[in-house]
Amino acid sequence: MMIGPDLLNIAIYLPLAAAIGVALLPRDKEHLAGPLALAALLLAFVPALALYLGFDPALPGMQFAQDLPWLSALGARYAIGLDGISLLMFMLTAFLGPIAVLSSFEAVKEHRRFYYASLLALQTGMLGVFAALDLLLFYVFWEAMLIPMYFLIGIWGGKRRIYASVKFFIYTMAGSLLMLAAILWLYFDHQSRTGIYTFALSAYGNAATGGTGMLLFLAFALAFAIKVPLWPFHTWLPDAHVEAPTAGSIILAGVLLKMGVYGFIRIAVPFFPEAAMTAGWPIAALGAFGVIYGSLTAWAQDDIKKLVAYSSVAHLGIVMVGALVLEPAAVSGAVLQMVNHGLSTGALFLCVGMLYERRHTRLMADYGGIAKVMPAFAAVFMIVTLSSIGLPGLNGFIGEFLILFGSFKVWPCLALISLGGVILSAVYMLGMYQKVFFGPVTNPANKELPDLKVREWLCVLPLLALIVWIGVYPNFFLKRLDTAVNDYIRLAGGQRPPFSLTQEGK
């Protein structure tokens, strides 16, 4: 088979097909739900990998594109394809999926068919969002994703799962409705000007300017900002993370948050370049502020999961600076940093889940001295921690470096504020590490914990491999980004002027 849209479709819909299969399993075969889901996602990773390797970094525009009539009466089409940016997001999703499934084998014992069916359906929704080139299709995948996530948190979550899942759902929904209104406005406006009903993303480059453009931009921006989550729209995240089962947290942090930034890059900025040029700085400033704010609030946590959740606010904040600064290195860094955050935070949630399965607590105070009891796990957790705080040689550094150095040329202030996160991340992450792993074993319940099992190694090793790989040889990933990043900057109205460094000053 040629590497083309067929493979793309297989990669997207294989999980959904498997979801139906798993849901229809007879009750006495329920124990097969997990292995089946894992097999399906591993199988779906193969076409995704083929797409990644078959992607031609030199070609501009979308590759593996397919454009079929869908809802002809509305002008909606089934249009999919990938450019370098969506390719990386697509791969990240396809990569994290099997790990999330594998991490659930022992943690989830109830309603297993429904659980794995939800995870699989979620996978199709997420992959679809990154591949969609039609606004309506994008919106359908975007909303479809919400439902399985809602179930994952609401059914298999912790004590306050109902509160968290409803909060997650309503918060995201409120944003999406604004986006829907903006989409409809664009849709009818386009028809009134050209006589054509269409949802094609490519038809809406520079779709509106002036006050209208700004209002529409803000409608999209709010929907995406909630997803990122940008300060101050972030408070659904800690609740959702703390209550979600491990796999839910991995997917939530690893992929779902990226959709906010992706929305800015794919839709909000190219649609309304003029508004984005004006509002870019204030939004990026919220991001930079979020770096410091998220780090401080992370520092104040007693619950490991909540700490990691708040650290996501900080990490995504710096990504927003990179995405909106429209400097090629910074944008590439932002996209790579989304992958990095997916890997390191995904791995962190995975590790926290492993601790939780052993001790059923997430409070740092309940641990201490774990390094002696579980040395291999301590080493793994250390590498993941270092990745998260951006130690050079591991993945996090490459993204942060590119964002900081790229955005400094345009917005030196925001870059310097974001740099504060470099210091603070070490404070809260190493503080957490010390409380959990160092010191004497004081709690008798921690004396006899088993170290990593084979299944857990299988979850962690692929993540560790990528963490090191991206840190040492990031060009394997960066070189697929250049063309797409340049396209994005062109659609956004070109690079912002660098600030003046001459003797006279500004």
Partner: protein, 630 residues
């Protein structure tokens, strides 16, 4: 590209990496302690051999052409940024690579004896190899970004090794303190690089390798940021990075705590090699400082102040390792004084001799601690010259070397620095440097007297150290004796081929030797009874110095605790109460109460509905009629 392609360079950094992986992965289960130790040491020995080979090839080149390069691969390429994973060997990195690989090898061998029987023996060697790998990356890097990899990498190794005995919470905290303090410096380093890259890009220069940067340093001199000259700002920011790694004021506070690590680690990382990285970095980037002499003044003053402050603190410490730690801070201050006076080669010279004698002193201290079963309090030692003869002779060598007694190593390099500072016209700095030299001689003599002279005051049984520990110390002692003479003859012309040979004025030599002599004599007169009398005469002053001027406490009270409280407040009030409470849940509550309010109207009582209906009808009728008649 300038320089000669030389693929051998990568072989300097690969063996320690392999050693790290092998000892780390195979570890206890597959390797015996003996094999693990030999493996770790052998890796460093290989690095040293490759360093020797490379340097000898470098020496065969004409002096103007001494640059070897090895590009492994294109590391980061995005937009206008291209950073290669590339190594360079020139005279500066040669000296550093030889010192690092050489001293590291000796300390690895010593560690086989020192760490014998430790539960995590293999992990120790694995970390130590990792350190050497990152240190050599730092030294050999061809651009500041790769240098930063080594820079933070050695910080990681330092963190892991300080907290090596992590079950002791205090030791684990010391590791974290080192990492975080270094991160503050590293943020400065990064900010400097960000500005440097922005200045270069603005001038159309996209290469970030040292040769390109050096050739375009004028761009920095001609630019300004926020109204300040860019070269000055970059210089100061990079120096902030150096104050972290090289433990200078105000970021030196982590180094004394870092003594929580095993003593060979203190010798290698926290005395001989890693902490000198700041001096090395400034020397490497000296082209920038040439463009910004004002930044050099900052370096000079900071170095001088740190040298003096740390020497004063060292005078009153009881813990043998703390004395040596503050001594290291102080000696590093000398190196920065040299760089600040524009004589970076003198700084690197002192870096080299200091690596020999300070590593020796630390290893000797380790031998004492080992022999006393872990005792570090100088007041519980004494008379050890009879019990540990070899260690005593070796310590005495280090004592003479650091005090600046001719013709030992410390004399040559320290004297050169003082001369350079004097020649630069900074009279007060020179005077302070001289006073610090006297203090240095005093505190190190005090250490020697308290530990080795008089009678044994402790209760522990004393045992000598094995040959695997004393032999490396012997080699370091030889270097501490001869390193100065050799360095003056070969090292300086090698580092600066064009420069005129140094002329030592007899007067300057006499002055600095008398400062050393004064310190030593004062120690032999005072230490013991009279020093205690002095301390008793000024109890407040003594407490102030003994407690290190309460700098740690001041930092905690002014920075750390307020920030931690602020973080807690941010979470409790703005985050939980305002954003999540008032806004998010508040909105939800608002709709909920609206719903509740409306529900009250829905009573289900038909008569009530009829009354409301009637009332509504009346209002409507009234409105219609009013509109008609009014």
């Amino acid at each position: 590209m300038e320089g000669n392609f030389y693929p051998l360079l990568k072989w300097m950094i690969l063996p320690p990496l392999a050693g790290f992986v092998l000892n780390g992965l195979l570890g206890k289960r597959l390797l015996s302690e003996r094999t693990g130790g030999i493996l770790g040491s052998l890796a460093i020995f290989l690095s040293f051999i490759f360093a020797l080979l490379s340097v000898s090839d470098l020496l065969n080149l004409p002096a103007a052409d001494r640059l070897l390069r090895d590009t492994l691969f294109a590391w980061i390429s995005a937009g206008p940024f291209t950073v290669d994973f590339a190594l360079r060997l020139d005279p500066l990195s040669s000296v550093m690579a030889l010192v690092v690989a050489g001293v590291s090898f000796l300390i690895h061998v010593y560690s086989i004896g020192y760490m014998r029987g430790d539960r995590c023996f293999h992990k120790y060697f694995s970390y130590l190899n990792l350190f050497v790998f990152f240190m050599l990356v730092l030294v050999l890097a061809d651009n500041p970004v790769l240098m930063f990899v080594g820079w933070e990498g050695v910080g990681l190794a330092s963190y892991l090794l300080i907290g090596f005995w992590y079950e002791d919470t205090e030791k684990a905290s010391a590791g974290k303190k080192a990492f975080v303090t270094n991160r503050i410096g590293d943020a400065g380093f990064l900010a400097g690089l960000m500005l440097l890259a922005a200045v270069m890009h603005a001038g159309g220069v996209y290469g970030l390798d040292f040769s390109t940067l050096s050739a375009n340093a004028r761009l920095a001199a001609g630019a300004s940021f926020a109204g300040v000259n860019a070269a000055f700002l970059i210089g100061v920011l990079l120096f902030v990075g150096a104050t972290g790694k090289s433990a200078q004021f105000p970021l030196y506070v982590w180094l004394p705590d870092a003594m929580a690590g095993p003593t060979p680690v203190s010798a290698l990382i926290h005395a001989a090699t890693m902490v000198t990285a700041g001096v090395y970095m400034l020397s490497r980037m000296f082209f920038l400082y040439e463009a910004a002499p004002a930044a050099l003044n900052v370096v000079l003053i900071t170095g001088c102040f740190t040298a003096f402050l740390a020497a004063v603190i060292a005078v009153a410490q009881r813990d043998i390792k703390k004395v040596l730690a503050y001594s290291t801070v102080s000696q590093l201050g000398y190196m920065f004084m040299a760089v600040g006076a524009g004589a970076w080669a003198a700084g690197v010279f002192h870096l080299t001799t200091h690596a020999f004698f300070k590593a020796l002193l630390f290893l000797a201290a380790g031998s004492v601690i080992h022999g006393l079963g872990g005792e570090q309090d100088l007041f519980k030692m004494g008379g050890l010259r009879r019990h540990m003869r070899t260690t005593f002779i070796l310590t005495a060598t280090g004592w003479l070397a650091i005090s600046g007694v001719p013709p030992l190593a410390g004399f040559y390099s320290k004297d050169l620095i003082l001369e350079k500072v004097f020649a630069s016209g900074a009279g007060f700095v020179w005077l302070t440097g001289l006073l610090t030299a006297a203090l240095t001689a005093y505190y190190i003599s005090r250490l020697l007297i308290l530990a080795f002279m008089d009678k044994y005051r402790g209760t522990q049984h004393v045992h000598g150290s094995p040959a695997v520990m004393t032999a490396p110390m012997g080699l370091l002692a030889v270097l501490s004796v001869a390193g100065g003479m050799a360095g003056a003859a070969w090292l300086l012309p090698f580092l600066q081929p064009g420069a005129a040979p140094e002329h030592h004025s007899a007067l300057m030599i006499a002055v600095s030797v008398s400062a050393a002599a004064a310190g030593i004599i004062a120690a032999f007169l005072l230490v013991g009874r009279r020093a205690e009398d002095l301390a008793a005469a000024w109890p407040r002053l003594h407490r102030l110095v003994y407690n290190k001027f309460y700098v740690d406490e001041i930092y905690a009270a002014l920075v750390l605790r307020p920030l931690e409280r602020f973080a807690g407040w941010t979470f409790r009030v703005p985050d939980s109460k305002v954003i999540d409470g008032a806004f998010v849940n508040g909105t939800a509550a608002l709709f909920m109460s609206m719903g509740r309010g409306l529900r009250a109207v829905q009573t289900g009582n038909a008569q009530f509905y009829a009354i409301v209906f009637l009332a509504g009808l009346c209002v409507l009728l009234a409105a219609v009629l009013a509109g008609y008649y009014l």
